[in-house]
């Protein structure tokens, strides 16, 4: 006998306001502006349209709020939505992978939060409750999480305890650290975004900041650009890039706190939009230590966890430590794996023929485009002189590419600029693949890939260009260890 779950809860009433505010620019500005631009209508018509737009936005938001309900059953959560076309979505607890709480600026003003329920499926907005009261969000998450663990919920709705605020702190970033991390997050890409945004700022500011007076003298200077002016310009760009990096990092990682909760590692961060996410420890597949070229020189690194469905939530892996010292990273790592990182001396390099193969490949890839370019623009042939650089890059790649088979996991290290160290526990390996291209066959080399759940196809921890017989032996050894680790897990369960 199963009773149908009743969807009897509504979102926070203030979602009516925030929803309307979000729709407002579109209705009250966009449409009247378009009409005003395209026709000869007078100002009164446009104002009337804007008023109509405000009413329409308000009506839409109110209807959405009226028609959105959710409810919790013993084994599932039900979400009903849709103004005309009603949709009833049932998410069984055991399908829930993750529950995130997010608080935007507006939501914070009203004490609300958005609850995002992630299931294994690919649909983006599978279970979004946007938004409910903050304590309701915490209570919901607690109930859903218990449900996902198989505990059947009984008793009154509000009985679930709020999460304890005194969870042990594992890692946090004080303001100084966030600012420092920002300096290393030097970003010119973000600069482009700012400039793009400034272009849209004109109607708001009344002036176009890109056409302000200082631009003209700058253009005049650029016309007679000397080395000094160029250097000054570059320095200016550098400073802007630094500021952009700091701002972006500040917005994302402000008050970064990682605590240990019963469900896993709980991460809170954000300046304008506060986000809270929990990484369940048993879902961590691979740990990745990531360090940029410059930050590494100063002893700073980052730690990410690759979880089962990293692609469902935010793209990429779950960041556990954005910017920290190695001992801080190992402290967080210890929450996931007790074994210490192997010594540097335990790491092994791949075959030196790696350099030869990569040089040949890159040269082959580059030579045709250069030759083609030289046909149309002969000086391009000078680029051929740069081809030996391929050998240099290959040598650097080889020097920084190492692996280690430790007692608990396979460690693979890649990268000269951004260095990544993958920690792949033997029991988490899904399949092993040995690849051998024609050139590798000639050179007696083979590459080995340990595939894991949630791995990025673009960044696989490939052990490239091992001597073929070592690759085969390593594959066999990894299989043996994989089996042993799985057997141990089964015994423990």
């Amino acid at each position: 006998m199963t009773l149908e779950t009743v969807a009897d809860r509504r979102l926070h009433p203030a979602t009516f306001l925030t929803g309307a505010l979000k729709q407002l620019p579109q209705y009250a500005l966009g449409l009247p502006a378009a009409v005003g631009f395209m026709s000869e209508s007078g100002l009164d018509t446009i104002l009337l349209l804007a008023l109509g737009g405000i009413l329409a936005a308000a009506a839409g938001a109110w209807l959405h709020w009226r028609r959105f309900r959710y409810g919790l059953g013993a084994r599932e959560i039900v979400i009903e939505s849709g103004i005309l076309h009603r949709k009833r979505r049932v998410i069984p607890f055991d399908r829930i992978q993750d529950i995130d709480i997010e608080q935007g600026l507006l939501a914070r003003a009203f004490g609300m939060a958005k609850v995002r329920i992630e299931t294994g499926g690919s649909a983006k907005d599978e279970g979004n409750l946007d938004s409910v009261a903050l304590d309701e969000a915490h209570r919901l998450r607690e109930l859903l999480r218990r449900g996902a663990r198989g505990e059947v919920h009984e008793g009154p709705w509000g009985a679930a305890a709020l999460p304890a605020e005194d969870e042990p702190l594992i890692f946090h970033m004080p303001l100084g650290r966030v600012l420092l991390a920002g300096l290393f997050n030097f970003s010119l890409v973000f600069l482009a975004v700012i400039f793009g945004a400034l272009e849209y700022a004109e109607p708001v500011l009344g002036v176009d900041p890109l056409k302000m007076e200082w631009i003209e003298p700058a253009r005049a200077l650029a016309a007679q650009a000397t080395w000094g002016v160029t250097a000054l310009g570059l320095a200016f760009l550098l400073v802007l890039g630094l500021i952009a990096g700091v701002l972006r990092t500040l917005a994302r990682d402000f008050r970064f706190r990682l605590t240990r909760s019963t469900a896993g590692l709980r991460r809170r961060r954000g300046l304008f939009t506060l986000t809270e996410a929990v990484v369940p420890l048993r879902r961590v597949q691979v740990s990745i230590i990531r360090s940029g070229a410059v930050a590494r020189l100063f002893g700073w690194h980052g730690l990410e966890f690759q979880t089962l469905n990293a692609d469902a939530g935010q793209a990429g892996n779950q960041v556990a430590v954005p910017f920290g010292r190695m001992d801080e990273l190992t402290r967080v790592l210890r929450e996931v794996r007790p074994a210490p990182l192997p010594e540097d001396s335990a790491f092994v390099r791949v075959s030196k023929r790696h350099i030869l193969r990569q040089s040949i490949r890159w040269t082959a890839f580059l030579i045709l485009p250069i030759a083609a370019a030289a046909v149309f623009f002969p000086p391009a042939a000078l680029l051929l002189l740069a081809l030996p650089l391929a050998a240099g890059a290959a040598a650097l790649q080889w020097k920084h590419h190492r692996y280690c088979v430790a007692a608990d996991a396979l460690y693979v290290r890649h990268g000269f600029l951004t260095r990544r160290l993958w920690i792949i526990p033997f029991e988490r390996i899904q399949t092993l693949a040995m690849d051998q291209g024609p050139l590798q066959r000639r050179l007696g080399l083979a590459s080995l890939t340990a595939d894991t759940a949630g791995a990025s196809l673009l960044r696989m921890p490939v052990i490239a260009n091992l001597p073929a017989e070592i690759a085969a032996a390593l594959a066999a050894a990894l299989l043996t260890r994989h089996k042993a680790a799985r057997a141990r897990l089964k015994l423990a369960a």
Partner: protein, 164 residues
Amino acid sequence: MPAATNRISPLAMKPLSPSQKSVLRIRGAIAALPFLAASLFFETVIRDAGLPLGFALSPALLLAAFLILYAPPRRYRSWGYDVTEDELHVESGIWLRTRTVVPFGRVQHIDVGQGPVERRYGLGTLTLHTAGTRGSAVSLPGLELGDAERMRDEIRAQIRQDLV
């Protein structure tokens, strides 16, 4: 260095069913068909343009010969598999050789598929699905259907043991 150590599989791998060669040939013929048809059409056009006879047909015939006669036996030979106690080994590829190992304990579900050409020869394709990214679906084509089904059942039994 001895040639044997340059290969990635020290194990002797089992070949696919010999009928798979015929399946590959028929597939090659199907792939060649549109090119042959198009070239025949161009031949009639070319006759008007005054180009020599067979200007379009001969490359198409060469392609067809490659797809039907040359490639199938080589592609057939490139495949190999082995089922050990705990894992499936699959080797394939002419240009880029790949050997994939799937531990049975990681298999999430198993399919046995049969295309129209395979059905005619009583062959099937065994596909193991894992939670991995690159190895999310490891396929082994060209098995006698009965063999494929038996392997599926054996692996399934292994998975059950793993869960117990």
